[in-house]
Symmetry: C2
Subunit: 318 residues, 2 copies
């Protein structure tokens, strides 16, 4: 594996070179109407991005590069934002964890294990929730139904890194009129490298006779600059930084803040991500740590506090 020092052409425009696919067209009407209805209710709004983005190696995609992320951080955070009065656009990788259903998703908590067949009182059987799980499931279901009924959650999905960036641009631009009431909480694991469309194989790459495969990947443009400066310049923007080496974590968070000029970087280490995160701002660094339970409860409360102060500051500076 080698990193080449050829710097990619800064004038190359990702949004010109890549087709937007149909994603934006499909989702745009729902996004627009969801945002409009929140504005009418003066609700604060957050875009939560979640899950990994893929980089297809073929047009008819069989193989792809991916980034590790089950979507736990995002799905969990979205619930806490809703509980705290926010409307949430949840932009997630298809099939990654979703708010509410995440409690019973995946192999570890199969919802069928929480159910039983019981006498229906008419000589037949009916499906019931097992007594010991009823209370928790009722509480999750209640929150889920409230989010749906009060129109507090819009779920939007992407697969590729190109779809992600096009949708992010579209949503951020739609949210821009909310000014500082908008929060962007970018928890998705976005690929740093991609294969430009013209280099992609149309069909499945054939593995003939035990030959090796060499892939030349190009850097994905750093979209945060545009987001901060042009797409939603008044919104508070929170990015995430995942590292595996402790010594790199804080310097990388500081670099990101300096480079993009946004408001907050949340840093975490791969093997301790469920127990600690660091919040890095221009003039502060603070850790949030939990032993058990959901770190996102504390994290989202803290982020909301900072968002409120940001909004006050922005409004007073007009």
């Amino acid at each position: 594996m080698t990193l080449h020092s050829r710097i990619s052409d800064p004038h190359t425009d990702f949004f010109t070179d890549n087709k937007s696919s149909d994603s934006v067209q499909i989702w745009s009407p729902q996004i627009t109407s969801f945002i409009a209805s929140q504005v009418a209710k003066h609700r604060p709004m957050v875009l939560v991005t979640s899950g990994g983005t893929i980089v297809p190696l073929e047009n008819n995609t069989v193989r792809f590069l991916d980034n590790f992320s089950a979507g736990t951080r995002g799905a969990c955070s979205a619930e806490h934002f809703i509980r705290n009065g926010y409307a949430v656009i949840f932009l997630h990788r298809q099939f990654s964890l979703l708010p509410y259903s995440r409690h019973y998703s995946h192999s570890t908590h199969c919802f069928l294990d929480f159910m039983d067949l019981d006498d229906d009182g008419h000589g037949g059987l009916q499906t019931v929730i097992l007594g010991q799980y009823e209370e928790e499931m009722r509480s999750v279901l209640k929150d889920y139904k409230r989010a749906k009924q009060e129109n507090l959650l819009l779920v939007v999905s992407f697969i590729t890194v190109a779809e992600y960036l096009f949708l992010l641009r579209d949503i951020a631009q739609c949210m821009a009129p909310l000014g500082s009431n908008a929060l962007l909480y970018l928890a998705a694991a976005v690929s740093d490298f991609h294969l430009p469309p013209e280099k992609m194989s149309v069909h499945k790459i054939q593995s003939q006779g035990g030959r090796c495969l060499t892939l030349h990947l190009e850097p994905v443009p750093k979209f945060l600059t545009r987001l901060v400066k042009h797409w939603a310049p008044q919104a508070m923007i929170v990015s995430f930084k995942l590292e595996t080496e402790e010594r790199l974590l804080i310097p990388k968070c500081r670099n990101a803040l300096k480079r993009y000029g946004h408001q907050l970087v949340i840093g975490n280490l791969l093997d301790r991500r469920k127990n600690e995160v660091i919040l890095v701002q221009q003039d502060s660094e603070s850790w949030i740590r939990v032993k058990d339970g959901e770190l996102e409860d504390k994290l989202v409360t803290e982020v909301i506090g900072r968002h409120k102060r940001w909004a006050v500051k922005m409004k007073s500076s007009i």
Copy 2:
């Protein structure tokens, strides 16, 4: 993207170079006891593999290569095998679809949408299944409970291609004593290329200053040869071939049969995989096509028919 013609050293032993991780050790006792209990009941047994295998690019894995597969074919087929009297070892990629829960998995059929809160008769609320979905859910739950109670399903998971191959070897060898009563139905999408451990980066690859990334991947050894000849030489072996180009499908299936000398290749095209498959054997080719409904119903019935004939032939040849 380039394919190099350097042929990898055929003597390189994947199983020596790659650590088996802890997967085999963790799963082995369950696998052994599951197989023993089926043998005692003279049940036919199938190993169904399902989902894509990943190729990590780093030891502390943030980035990886993957193969497209939600695991629908495998999860669906496993149910049909159980319905037809087989015991199933379901070797699947972690978080890919599972038998039974697949009916309510992923974003499209969130099980919370099938539930409601109702008066519990004591002034409180209880969770109930909505009337219109009750019958189907009851039927899925019944089948799931039967599979568990009668010990017809063992669910084993892998993530990387190395874990997959080590588990496949272990399970196949454990199943070998079943002779021709064993069926191997290899629906997992196994990576053709991998990054040998010594070439892997220990930590997350850094994306410094917009540089390009070049990956040199080596071929994954064709494990089918060993499976057919050494691991489970009496078992009937069914492999899958996914292509995106129609003209390549049948020739590639024929090549695989010739190369590995196993019994059946099931070929399918990416964009029509839910509606048609072709069964290629030494002396026959036949399509199975459905307009709607589950293709796996017909497919599994057909495969079981061939497995029975195989077993009769093998037993009469002793």
